[in-house]
Symmetry: C2
Subunit: 205 residues, 2 copies
């Protein structure tokens, strides 16, 4: 697997952010209080304010950190002219899988709680998401034009790809005997072979 | 499209159940009060108790109605020996898509709020879900043995299928110019071709 998105760890500030992500995910943004976050980190509620101004600030940080990770990776792929559209889409899918494996709390908060972002952040976040989805659709459209991807509806393919990886939440709870590598390989194979022209059975590495 | 799951409509009792599903989905089970439900239906909170005993009873009804719809459909498919495993799996997927299109509130509540079921209902529901997932895995295993499905990890395929359809929530909000028929056809094509042996490009009807 490629390197994971960078994140600093260990500072008090980062511990607060991780605690917020866990609690926002489990209880929801609305039901989480500053006291819950303080308790989770093991500090006094009052000292939280030495590090952050508000609960909203924490939500903003989490949502935009996730959005930035996805956008940055997509931009980096744009600088790799040796990749064709299907390979580009596969790389995006692999990145999503790794984010759901490694940063479950943050990704779920960005998915499920972003509606609670205050303005102007809410609009910014929704716009970024639309741009991101549009860029994925364009990769698929290009792949169809170049004959790497068969004639599919880009809108529906993006919908299915971005949702299929949400199943990884269930994997975290059950795991069974499926390793991360097996999970990634099987999911990529299923979802990429499903749109490849002249698929190469039995699958890609 | 085949006929939708049967549901009686129009009775006060049914209106209460629909209102509860909408509110449990939008606000969450915990944050929804009996008064919210009464307001939504347009009756006095006190008269709610002429129809139901508790909020928990409504959650139970919603969750088990959804679970029964899926289980019944799977059982009916078991009585159709003319279908091979891949066709069976495709029929299951189409049913899931229709449920997400037609009963979004109920399906999302069964997915996201079932953790709030009281015992013994919580355990029953979780067991039913496990059995259902296991049956889908067995269909895939059988399809692999019979050469209709290529060598894939059944656990991961079920994960991807059941999660991909969750993207239909996003379709409800955006829709764009994609009809229900197009949505179903495109999603089925992507997700079924992805596991078919010797896929038939460009897709199934």
């Amino acid at each position: 697997m490629a390197k994971s998105p960078a994140r600093k760890t260990g500072t008090r500030r980062e511990m607060i952010s991780l605690a917020a992500a866990r609690l926002f995910r489990e209880k929801g943004f609305n039901a989480t209080g500053m006291r819950d976050i303080a308790d989770h980190v093991g500090i006094e509620a009052a000292s939280l304010y030495n590090h952050i101004r508000s609960k909203s600030e924490l939500l903003q940080e989490i949502c935009f950190r996730v959005a930035n990770a996805f956008t940055t990776q997509l931009n980096e792929l744009g600088n790799k002219p040796d990749l064709n559209s299907l390979e580009r889409l596969e790389a995006v899918l692999r990145f999503h899988i790794r984010m759901w494996v490694e940063q479950l709390d943050e990704v779920m908060v960005a998915n499920n709680e972003s509606a609670y972002l205050e303005e102007p952040y809410n609009t910014t976040f929704q716009n970024e998401r639309k741009t991101y989805v549009r860029q994925l659709e364009q990769i698929i459209e290009e792949g169809i034009r170049h004959g790497q991807i068969r004639s599919v509806k880009p809108y529906v393919v993006v919908l299915s790809l971005l949702s299929a990886v949400r199943g990884i939440e269930f994997w975290h709870r059950t795991k069974k005997n499926v390793s991360i590598a097996e999970l990634e390989s099987a999911m990529v194979s299923h979802l990429i072979e499903g749109i490849r022209t002249n698929p190469s059975v039995p699958g890609i590495s």
